[in-house]
């Protein structure tokens, strides 16, 4: 499994239901052996991408290539992909082993061989003891694992997962995330995971593809998406963020200044050539994470501005301060996050403070 070769490529794929377009000219490459998460709000077209790849629906235009060969018209039962459906779609009249072995038995594989591989797959998902139960006798998490075993027993080139954790409660969801990731490492199969939950995406994915309104907004590692969002949508959607509008100013090496209501701010543009290429005076946002914002001390000369703490909210491991900064007619609401301490925070509601963030922790997105 070489993570640098492309397993599956979508080329200018579009999809419309009647006259309603849901996907516009999508280009996407899935690498062999990776865990790729498609993340987006509901209605972004993420599930449609998965259904098109799985063959559950025909394309409107464009093509899907597997190992360089066009499979756009290949019928669903011929595609070497298997899907884990959102509500698991287990066959209620078959036992756990009947469900898991289904993909093998329709291929007329010998009974003994099926029994051996079913036992193997059930061991992998830790359900060996439940082989003779019916789906109705299982808990949500167990059904989830049956669905996974059923999909991976056919040794597909790609496993498609359609929000498979959405129906589980929080604790179980976290366990399943770890479990899914470990299985993916073990069997080294490519996973395409669709979700609207960022935490899920960050926790499992090698790469994340952020979608909005039928377009792919950004594709990259969770780290890239978090620290180098390429547009306002990703900057706002992916994690908490502070965005301050302004006009781009001159470049100084790996930094670029931006004139905002909070004064001149300086942000990093390293490895982002499109920000280097943008003209002076172009509309943009300075973006900095709540955990990057802090009370200014004498060392902080850049990105220094006054503000007033309007609210403090305890959120468990961290405490979030809401801050009003800038002149009255252009007041900005910012968020500042600090680790919680048992003796409370040094910050007080109503207090006037001086704030700052390090230039390399700020980034720019074009408006």
């Amino acid at each position: 499994m070489n993570q640098n070769t492309d397993l599956l490529t979508l080329r200018s794929v579009s999809k419309s239901y009647g006259t309603v377009p849901v996907l516009h000219d999508i280009d996407l490459s899935i690498r062999d052996g990776e865990f790729l998460t498609v993340l987006g709000p509901s209605g972004s077209g993420k599930t449609t991408v998965l259904r098109l790849i799985g063959g559950l629906e025909p394309l409107t235009s464009g093509e899907i290539r597997l190992d360089g060969q066009d499979i756009s018209r290949m019928p669903i039962n011929r595609r070497p992909f298997n899907t884990v459906f959102q509500d698991y779609a287990l066959f209620p009249h078959l036992t756990v082993s009947g469900n898991v072995g289904y993909g093998l038995s329709v291929r007329h594989i010998q009974r003994k061989e099926i029994a051996r591989r079913v036992a193997e797959a059930l061991d992998l998902v830790q359900l060996g003891r439940f082989a003779d139960r019916f789906p109705a006798q299982l808990s949500g998490g167990q059904r989830q694992r049956v669905a996974l075993a059923r999909a991976l027993i056919c040794q597909p080139r790609l496993i498609l997962l359609d929000e498979p954790l959405a129906a589980l409660d929080l604790e179980l969801r976290r366990q399943m995330q770890v479990f899914l990731k470990s299985i993916q490492r073990e069997i080294k199969t490519t996973f395409l995971f669709v979700t609207h939950d960022q935490e899920e995406a960050i926790g499992m994915a090698d790469r994340i593809c952020v979608m909005e309104a039928g377009h792919i907004r950004q594709l990259g590692t969770p780290h890239d998406l978090y620290y180098k969002p390429n547009c306002e949508f990703v900057a706002r959607f992916f994690g908490e963020n502070n965005l301050v509008a302004g006009k781009l100013g001159p470049i100084q090496g790996e930094l670029r200044s931006i004139e905002t209501a909070l004064g001149r701010l300086v942000c990093s543009i390293s490895n982002q050539p499109h920000l280097k290429a943008a003209t002076d005076g172009a509309s943009a946002y300075a973006a900095f994470r709540p955990e990057a914002l802090h009370l200014a001390d004498a060392k902080d000369t850049d990105n220094r501005f006054p503000g007033t703490i309007s609210d403090m909210a305890f959120a468990g491991s961290s405490t979030v301060a809401t801050i009003t900064a800038g002149a009255d007619n252009a007041a900005q609401r910012l968020r500042l996050r600090v680790p919680s301490r048992v003796d409370g925070s040094a910050l007080k509601s109503g207090e006037a403070v001086s704030l700052s963030f390090a230039p390399h922790e700020g980034h720019l997105v074009l408006a």
Partner: protein
């Protein structure tokens, strides 16, 4: 507090009344008549008057007289055949209905159910005119050259009863099968495709087993309706098409032997209850009803 005290008893009285009615109505209108019937089956008739003395004579006659058991058995075979033919014809129709989209599906379903709105007797007359020696079916077969001359194969005999009952009862088979097919989540069929199954494999391994509860209730519906029918055999069966229902009818009518008729009804009721229980047994599929 005092207000609650005054309203509660009234509410309670109402709910008590509803509860009593809910249990009393079926008891009065179903169980009591059945019990009276069962009681009658132990009486006997002497010169046109009913003798109210308990005896097992009626049942002994049913089991020993060479007339009744063969007719009883033949009738069961006939009704099982009707049920099987109805299922074989209704299943493809119901399946076809589920492949239709939206409005068409229900429009066609209604069309299939329209015969239920017509009078039973009129339908039988209509079928008689199709089946008769000079009926539409014979004329058509002769005209097509399949037969040299009109056949007596389906004129006033068991075959005529079989055909007529099948035609009359098909709607009762289509409906439960259609409902069970419609209840199968589409995603299960997609999952089967996704796992590599062909269309035929998906049908045989997923659709068919999941629709069996509907098939079972359709079969028991049709069987029960067919075995209780005496009018159809009476009208299209002629002399050779003698069914248990006709014997029963004659005991209450011409023979005027209510106790013996009651005993025969009890025998019929046993078969009907067995059919319903079997249908129920297969209708409840382990995994499906959680």
């Amino acid at each position: 507090m005092s207000k609650a005290d005054s309203t509660l008893p009234a509410e309670r009285r109402l709910s008590l009344l509803v509860t009593v009615l809910a249990f009393a109505l079926p008891v009065i209108f179903v169980l009591v008549p059945l019990a009276i019937f069962l009681g009658y089956s132990f009486f006997s008739v002497d010169q046109g008057t009913i003798v109210y003395g308990l005896s097992l004579g009626n049942y002994a006659r049913f089991f020993t007289d060479p007339v009744f058991l063969p007719v009883f058995w033949n009738t069961i075979v006939l009704c099982v055949s009707v049920a099987i033919i109805c299922i074989l014809l209704a299943y493809p129709a119901a399946y076809f209905l589920t492949t239709l989209k939206g409005r068409w599906r229900y429009a066609l379903l209604m069309l299939l159910l329209v015969p239920l709105l017509m009078s039973y007797v009129i339908k039988i007359y209509a079928i008689r005119s199709i089946l008769g020696l000079n009926g539409f079916l014979n004329k058509a077969l002769v005209a097509l050259g399949i037969l040299q001359e009109p056949s007596t194969l389906f004129v006033f005999n068991m075959n005529a009863i079989l055909l007529t009952l099948t035609l009359l009862l098909i709607p009762f088979a289509v409906l439960p099968i259609f409902l069970s097919l419609e209840r199968i989540p589409q995603v299960l069929l997609r999952a089967s495709d996704d796992l590599g199954a062909s269309g035929l494999q998906t049908f045989l391994r997923i659709t068919l087993p999941l629709s069996l509860p509907g098939v079972a209730s359709a079969a028991s519906f049709v069987f029960v309706l067919a075995i209780g029918d005496f009018l159809t055999p009476q009208m299209v069966g002629g002399i050779s098409g003698f069914t248990f229902g006709r014997i029963l009818y004659s005991q209450f009518g011409t023979a005027y032997n209510w106790p013996f008729g009651a005993a025969l009804s009890v025998a019929l009721a046993v078969v009907v209850i067995a059919a319903i229980l079997i249908g129920e047994r297969f209708g409840r599929n382990r995994g499906i009803s959680v």
